[in-house]
Symmetry: C2
């Protein structure tokens, strides 16, 4: 069966939305546990202004103090040149750039039009071209925008083109607020892989409307082998209070492993990491496997 | 696009597991709201011993007092001859029989081996053969048993054969404790529809491990067009406290409608019924759409 690559984004996309600041030593412990599970990539933090996202104000500390495991790519989100400089000083393996396909969402999110952001990335890429570092280009609201609604496919394809011209090594399509449907995922992923058969393409889903794992299945059917997910399913959306966040890493790995896909991540260690995550939070995590156990966790008839 | 048939089981599979008894008039109001949405089938109740399932002790009252809508099939679960007699007196449209593929689960559930239960259904079918009524045969633990683990496909096929010999009109494969994986659903459904191309086959999934909607997609890909679901996603499993219950009707209809499938059920009325359900419960419902809204519910940039 196909090898599938799993990227965890809990300490960036998950924790940035939490009401509470998670202490630095706990973030480091969490990432160290994740490293031991054998994940392919961990998005550790974001080198963003501490004023913009106070929860990630310890980016340098976290990045420098985690124990890195060979084989794991340690990535960080970077919004601008300043962030890129900070990330380089911490020797991250990969820098993740982000722009929304929707102008309205980009303006709301970072007060720039989509074109302004891409223009500013030219300077970032010039700076990074002197460094030995991978760069990934993420496209937010690739499957729909909470303000604009439907996002035309041509817009996504055009932005991939612009990112590739800038020199990025891979592309991530992010379903920022959980609007993608399985058929849409299949169609857009198929079109992109037809255009760029060798493009390292990652899909980043949120489970806001319950379609997350169905979307993964249709992504795989279209040929995608890289998926972002967040431990415990954290990473809520401000428009959907109480709804699920990113797709849940341990639920994703559980499903794919029991379907026979080849995955490097150890499921039991991942479940333990999710239990640790639960222990440092003050609310219930959306993930199901931590509550329900694996399908191979059998019960005795004397239970209940 | 294909017509998909949606069956709601909230007032049977959902409410039977609730800690509180939902008052009869509220059940009736809920079913009347569901009828108005245009669902294809509603599993109203179970004519089981009130001692066995006290939450459904008002089966006759509910069945007799709901307002029936033409085009909706009103079904009830029946465990034995006594139940069948009670159901006939209430003029249900369809009787649903249930046996677990796993002997251990059947023994634990109703203190009979699988064969003993099927044997007892001969008498039930003899009685029903004089009535103008549909009979559906459900197979619990079709995709896995929490005690025995894996369920061999041959066992499921053999039991379908036995049900069909008894004279049932349709078959439901139930994933009683949420153990089915998408690839397993595709394989088993494909095999069954190869054996019996004209069989009205329903899939009944629980979202216990987050795979529910992914399983639906693979069922559809295999040719299945009938799905059970529970309003709000109620219907927990005693082995998975805090985990999701049945797949959620409004989340299912939302996904399929936005993929372009033809569905008779009105999504907005369904969401309103789910909100009514939430209002008569004392805990949060697992469904996502009630919290997140439809993907077409756009936001103004002045929000947040």
């Amino acid at each position: 069966m196909k090898r599938i690559f799993i990227h965890d984004v809990i300490t960036r996309d998950g924790l940035q939305n939490e009401e509470q600041f998670i202490p630095t030593d706990k973030k480091i412990e969490l990432i160290n546990q994740l490293s031991n599970t054998g994940l392919d990539k961990i998005e550790v933090t974001s080198f963003v202004s501490p004023k913009a996202i106070p929860n990630l104000r310890d980016a340098e500390d976290v990045m420098k103090k985690i124990k890195r495991k060979p084989g794991v790519t340690y990535s960080a989100l970077v919004p601008n040149l300043k962030g890129a400089e900070r990330a380089i000083l911490c020797a991250v393996d990969e820098i993740n750039l982000l722009v929304s396909v929707s102008d309205t969402h980009n303006l709301k999110n970072i007060h720039q039009t989509t074109n302004q952001t891409l223009e500013s990335y030219k300077e970032v890429m010039r700076f990074l071209s002197k460094e030995d570092i991978l760069v990934n280009g993420s496209l937010g609201t690739s499957f729909g925008c909470p303000f604009e609604g439907e996002i035309p496919e041509e817009k996504v394809l055009r932005l991939i083109d612009q990112y590739l011209e800038l020199g990025v090594n891979g592309i991530t399509l992010a379903d920022t607020t959980g609007m993608a449907t399985p058929s849409q995922v299949y169609q857009l992923s198929t079109n992109i892989l037809n255009h760029w058969p060798d493009l390292p393409l990652t899909l980043h889903f949120h489970n806001t409307r319950g379609m997350g794992l169905a979307n993964v299945m249709e992504g795989i059917r279209a040929g995608v082998i890289r998926f972002d997910a967040s431990l415990g399913g954290l990473g809520g959306c401000p428009f959907a209070p109480g709804a699920s966040g990113n797709i849940c890493t341990e639920d994703l790995v559980h499903m794919l492993k029991f379907m026979g896909y080849e995955i490097r991540t150890d499921l039991d260690q991942l479940i333990n990491a999710a239990k640790y995550l639960q222990s440092i939070l003050t609310h219930d995590i959306p993930g199901q496997i931590v509550k329900a156990g694996k399908i191979t966790d059998l019960h005795s008839t004397s239970e209940i």
